[in-house]
């Protein structure tokens, strides 16, 4: 198996608040990893470090054999191969759906407009809303917006996808349509790192579960072991709280 992401003793501080403490993580090509944990545990910060939306201060992050440093060239290269989906969608409200998706292929990959729009349409079909192509983000439901955001990321043809609580801002009814798209993506072999509390999704998709608390990885295990036989007491407490309601 080819290793695509490696975190080695990664540390990060916000002023004197220690957010990430000696994080070690290794992701193989095609692996799906679900990260969970209480709020403030550093899960979002960790995946945001992987495409340098946040800078770590100690340790090493290597993506595709390229180490993330202040080197802008490296950052650009890594961002081209790593897609990201946000909790708040972050679609560009002044652009139509199809322009949202074709923007990066046109300006970053310097693709002809026609070709970029064809690609955008194909991804819109994949997330099952091709009929919304000419609408603006403000005219779509939350679930549709998040699917557009996924299509926008995929249009850059990344080989790793990061999901930062992609369903947390959605109404319960819309969660499924987004998760369905993510499951389909997983089945196609995409390398995925997902921060989520959707445990049903985790059981279906994850190869590995990671539980974080207070900036540390407390437990890492297969879903089977994680849900049925968690080792640490903190994990047991967390699972009992989110599963028994």
């Amino acid at each position: 198996m080819e290793q695509v992401i490696q975190l080695e003793k990664v540390n990060k501080w916000y002023d004197d608040f220690h957010v990430l403490k000696d994080i070690d993580l290794s992701v193989q090509r095609g692996q799906k990893i679900v990260v969970c944990g209480p709020s403030g545990s550093g899960k979002s910060t960790m995946i945001r470090c992987i495409n340098r939306l946040e800078a770590h201060q100690k340790g090493h992050i290597v993506v595709h054999n390229t180490e993330l440093t202040n080197d802008l060239k490296n950052i650009d290269m890594i961002r081209k191969n790593v897609g990201m989906v946000f909790q708040q969608f972050n679609l560009f409200p002044h652009l139509s759906v199809i322009d949202n998706i074709s923007l990066a292929p046109i300006w970053v990959k310097k693709m002809p407009k026609k070709e970029a729009e064809d690609i955008a349409m194909s991804y819109l079909e994949k997330v099952k809303i091709p009929e919304q192509a000419q609408k603006f983000p403000g005219q779509l439901s939350g679930g549709q917006q998040q699917r557009v955001a996924i299509a926008r990321s995929l249009a850059m043809n990344p080989d790793i996808m990061l999901f930062d609580e992609p369903t947390s801002a959605l109404d319960p009814e819309m969660i499924k349509e987004v998760l369905d798209v993510m499951i389909q993506l997983a089945e196609e072999g995409m390398t995925m790192l997902v921060v989520t509390h959707e445990m049903g999704f985790a059981k279906t998709v994850a190869d590995q579960m990671i539980f974080m608390d207070e900036g540390k990885i407390v437990e890492q295990a297969t879903p089977d072991e994680f849900f049925n036989n968690p080792k640490s007491d903190r994990t047991k407490l967390f699972l009992s709280q989110i599963l028994n309601h």
Binding site: R79, N90, P112, K113, E115
Partner: protein, 389 residues
């Protein structure tokens, strides 16, 4: 039946609001009518004549700053136009300069450079908290304390700074210069076409072209080339000191410069705050999403941040343009010959037609302001989002 009808009028939501509105409009019309009638009666009783016939009388005063020829023999009506053009000139130049300074300072206020950021901060807090009238007088006084004509500071060959204004050579157009102007015009049209063609080419091939650079070069160098081909059909008449004043050349008066600096530096402080808030108002998530897609910082600014910031910037920017335009009436304080100073001041004193003149001046400002609003609103509509984002 009767009571039912009355009841319906008073308690039905629609008919009641219609009733109230009709009453209010009626009372307001009556009020205006009474005032107009009373005023006409008072004027007649005191033997003050009214009407607009004075417009055709000779004005009897000179206007130093003018865009169209004017002598003291010309009519008050022509004086009105001289003033109007001066008001428009200061408003247009002021808005233009204020926008440039405002955008620059607004961006600098967000810069990561501590020194620049704080200089901009001090500038904004100082200028927007001191009355604009005082600032206009300050800049005017500074300009008046420049050296006298005899000791004029020569900045370049033929350019002089004096307490009577900024003297510079005036261009004399000779035969063939119109070709240079035409070539300039053609270059502009060509650049628009080139932009379209290159945009289309980008859409087809994906290749990005430095459109702005190509077109700037085209627009700048074409007229220069034609100018040399035509054997330099342009001469300059440099101002020369003769006796107590400069002869020849042209001059920008200190009154105009004082107004321009005062108004634009003052208004730019407000515009910079508007620009800053507009840029801040674009959520951090927008920038993060663009970066995650691999867009470089200048593209993030150009394609994502600025189009969204404009949406927030335009409405308050309109107010600032309106403020600047109306504040230009402060020209009366330093003798800038705008609408209020000449027509609204001297003509009024000479003819005594205060009501007519003030009405004309007010309606003129109203028209200018509404025109600015109209165009800014059209522009504003084009930058708003669709849907409820």
């Amino acid at each position: 039946m009767q009571t039912n009808f009355l009841r319906k009028i008073i308690f039905d939501e629609k008919s009641r609001s219609l009733l109230i509105q009709t009453l209010v409009i009626g009372l307001f019309a009556l009020f205006i009518y009474l005032i107009a009638q009373q005023t006409a009666y008072n004027l007649e009783k005191r033997g003050i004549s009214s009407g607009f016939d004075f417009l055709n009388l000779s004005a009897g005063y000179d206007i130093s700053i003018r865009l169209i020829p004017f002598t003291s023999e010309d009519t008050h009506f022509r004086a009105y136009f001289v003033g109007l053009l001066n008001t428009l000139m200061i408003a247009v130049c002021g808005c233009f300069l204020a926008t440039i300074i405002g955008f620059l300072v607004g961006v600098i206020r967000l810069s990561s450079n501590w020194l620049f950021r704080n200089i901009a901060y001090v500038y904004v807090e100082f200028t927007r908290n001191v009355p604009v009238l005082l600032q206009i007088i300050l800049y005017y006084s500074i300009l008046l304390h420049l050296p006298k004509i005899k000791q004029a500071i020569e900045i370049f060959d033929g350019f002089f700074l004096t307490n009577r204004g900024f003297f510079s050579p005036s261009p004399i157009f000779k035969e063939g210069f119109s070709l240079v102007l035409w070539s300039f015009l053609i270059a502009i049209i060509a650049s628009i076409l080139i932009k379209k063609i290159l945009k289309k080419k980008q859409e087809q091939t994906g290749q990005q072209y430095p459109i702005f650079l190509i077109n700037s070069a085209l627009i700048i160098f074409t007229p220069i080339l034609v100018y040399y081909i035509m054997g330099r059909p342009l001469e300059f008449d440099a101002p020369v000191l003769k006796g107590f004043n400069f002869k020849g050349g042209m001059v920008i008066r200190p009154e105009f410069l004082g107004m321009l600096f005062g108004l634009s530096i003052y208004t730019a402080a407000f515009i910079s705050e508007t620009v800053r808030s507009g840029i801040i108002a674009v959520s951090k998530g927008q920038r993060e999403a663009s970066q995650a897609l691999g867009l470089k910082n200048n593209l993030v600014m150009r394609l994502i941040v600025i189009p969204q910031a404009l949406r927030v910037i335009i409405p308050p920017l309109t107010s600032q343009y309106l403020n600047l335009t109306k504040n230009s009436s402060l020209g009366i304080a330093i003798g800038y010959a705008d609408l209020v100073h000449g027509f609204g001041g001297i003509s009024l004193n000479q003819t005594g037609r205060a009501i007519e003149i003030m009405l004309m001046v007010m309606l003129t400002y109203l028209t200018i302001s509404l025109t600015i609003s109209l165009f800014m609103n059209i522009y504003n509509k084009s930058v708003q989002f669709k849907g409820n984002a």
